[in-house]
Structures are given as structure tokens and as C-alpha cells.
Symmetry: C2
Subunit: 189 residues, 2 copies
């Protein structure tokens, strides 16, 4: 390893800071409250754009991000789009993969377990009849998801698998989240 | 409007092709089966990268994408990352926003309803004690999500809201999806 690391960093995670954060939150649960935010603008057809910058956490509004993250979604031609970006359900695969990976990395760091590499491959099966509304018994979303990890680490497969249960996106996908949608339609013709 | 449109395009969606796709799927349900895929590689700490290219749908492997979409996820400094990208739960907001928007656009097009603009703002509340594993009664994922849409369209708010129920990501977030995770840990020290 050519990178310079201090004893307090494992898997690229500052474990002293992680421990300090955990202690602070144990002392004051309100510090654990986060609110993440996004705004999205439709462009045309299946193409739309999300902007992500501000969030609330650790008792205050974050001010460290100077530029927003800008994310384009679209559909491939076979789904009548122009492929300006991955499609929404493909972004779910990215969210799940990245969250499971980070959960392994952080929880391993907290336990003093070094990880050398993590690769994953995801597959999600979806029946378009749900989205199209032509089969009321077919769900619009993924019928099932498979995630295969290959990890180089001193941890056993069982330990790494157990760490994935802390993943927020794994929880969001495998359990119901209440979503309140409001629509304000303005006709200015 | 300065763009040239044909009668068969509404909201940027080719409704003739949409109708043809629906007819084809009604005749042969297997054409509706899609499989989306992603691979992810851990980089360091909270930073990892997803590559998305191939998928299966309409009875065959897609060959239209010549380059993959490459997506970086990371955590902000307050969550011990280096902010190389939005974080996994922020990507869930993007996936949800983009999918709800596309569901409105496509279903409105199928019904002959023109939409002029769609903007949305999303907020998700998350208690970090779930991810940290310090409160077993706190879920790791979002406690709740709010989505506020402002739409310019001839459709009523009620009609647009009804269209969101066809969104695959709305279904994924609000209902359970089975996720099978396998971990192969190799210790080559």
C-alpha cells in the first residue's frame, strides 16, 4: 500500500471521528436527525434532471457543498427515451449497491476489520405490464433483486452479510416507506 | 413553441410507438419482462462507483448503448466522506423524483393530455441511529418522504396524482421488494 494512513483511519474511514459521532449521538439523539432533499425538473419525454445540494444533519444546515450534484435520468430508445442518463429503476440499483457497500466499509471500520476490495453485481427483474397499467395484478416495481458481492477482507462472508442489514437503502427497498405526494396543477392557458 | 412536433408525439413521447408497444405486450406478455443490471466497485471510504450499461427487455439484450453510465456515490464530510458524489439515500430521492415525473409524462401522453412543465421538490427524514446500529427500534432508512409537484397542464391535480401510482420506484419505495444478497469473502493474505 503506497497510501499514507494513520492508525485512526480504517478502510478510508476516520474511526476516531466515527466513534466521536456515535458518542455525541448517544448523548443527544437529536444530532442523528437528517433531512435530505432534491429538486427535479422535467426536460422532455423521459428526460428529467435532479439537483441535490443542501441537507440538514448533526443539528444544522450543511454548508460544505459549494456546488450541487446534477443528475440526469432518461429512458433508452426501447422505452421511448433518448438515453440521456440511466433510467429511474437503474438509479435504484446504484443507490442500493452504493449503500450496501458503504455499510460494509463503515461497519467493518468500526469493528477494526480491514477491507481490501469490494465488487458487486446487481440484477433486478421488472415486468413492464405494471407500469403500463395493463395488468392490475403485476406490480410496477422490481419483482425481486439479486446482489452478488465479491470482497477481499479478513472478515467472513457471514460477518459482511450481517453488516448489510444496517444499510438505509436496503431498508428502504425491502420495507415500506410512507411517501406523501402533493400535486399542484396550474392551467395557465 | 418552436419545436417541430408530429401529431404522434405528446410530451416528447411517441404515442404511436407507445400504443404499438402496449398492443405487442398484450399479445405476448413475455415482451414485458425486463432485467436491469449494475456493477459497483468500492474506491475508498464512502466513495464507490457504479457502471450501468446492459439490460434485457422486449425479448432481447439491448445493444443500443455504446457507452456505460458511470455514477459516483460518496458521503459529505459530516458523514466522514469526501463528497465525490451524492450519497446513496440522496440517489433514492433522484430515482423517486425522476420515476414519478416520467410516470406522469408517459401516462398523460397515452391519454392525450399535454403537459407544459413539471417541477418537484423532495424531502426525506432519516435518523442516523438506525444505520449506526445504536437504537434497534430506529429503522436505518427514511422514516418518511414528501414529494411536492408543481405542474402546468390541462390535467387536474387529481388525474396527475392518480398517474403516480404506476411509478415503478414509487412501488419499490412504498412496498417491500425481496432482495437476495450473497457475499463471497476471499482472504488472500
Amino acid at each position: 500500500m503506497s497510501t499514507v494512513t494513520t492508525l485512526s483511519t480504517i478502510n478510508g474511514v476516520n474511526v476516531e471521528q466515527l466513534g466521536a459521532n456515535i458518542s455525541a449521538i448517544q448523548g443527544e439523539a437529536g444530532l442523528a436527525k437528517f433531512q435530505f432533499r432534491a429538486t427535479n425538473t422535467w426536460i422532455n419525454g423521459g428526460h428529467n434532471r435532479t439537483t441535490i445540494k443542501e441537507f440538514y444533519g448533526v443539528g444544522k444546515e450543511d454548508t460544505t457543498r459549494t456546488e450541487p450534484f446534477v443528475l440526469d435520468a432518461d429512458e433508452p430508445p426501447v422505452l421511448l427515451g433518448e438515453d440521456h442518463g440511466a433510467n429511474p429503476v437503474e438509479f435504484v440499483l446504484h443507490a442500493l449497491a452504493s449503500c450496501l457497500t458503504t455499510s460494509m466499509v463503515y461497519h467493518a471500520a468500526a469493528r477494526g476489520i480491514k477491507i481490501d476490495s469490494i465488487e458487486s453485481r446487481l440484477e433486478g427483474d421488472l415486468d413492464l405490464r405494471g407500469f403500463l397499467g395493463i395488468s392490475p395484478d403485476v406490480r410496477p416495481g422490481y419483482k425481486n433483486l439479486k446482489v452478488n458481492f465479491t470482497v477481499k477482507s479478513d472478515a467472513t462472508s457471514e460477518t459482511l452479510q450481517e453488516m448489510t442489514k444496517y444499510s438505509p437503502v436496503f431498508d428502504i427497498v425491502t420495507n415500506p416507506v410512507p411517501v406523501a405526494i402533493s400535486v399542484n396543477s396550474q392551467n395557465d392557458n
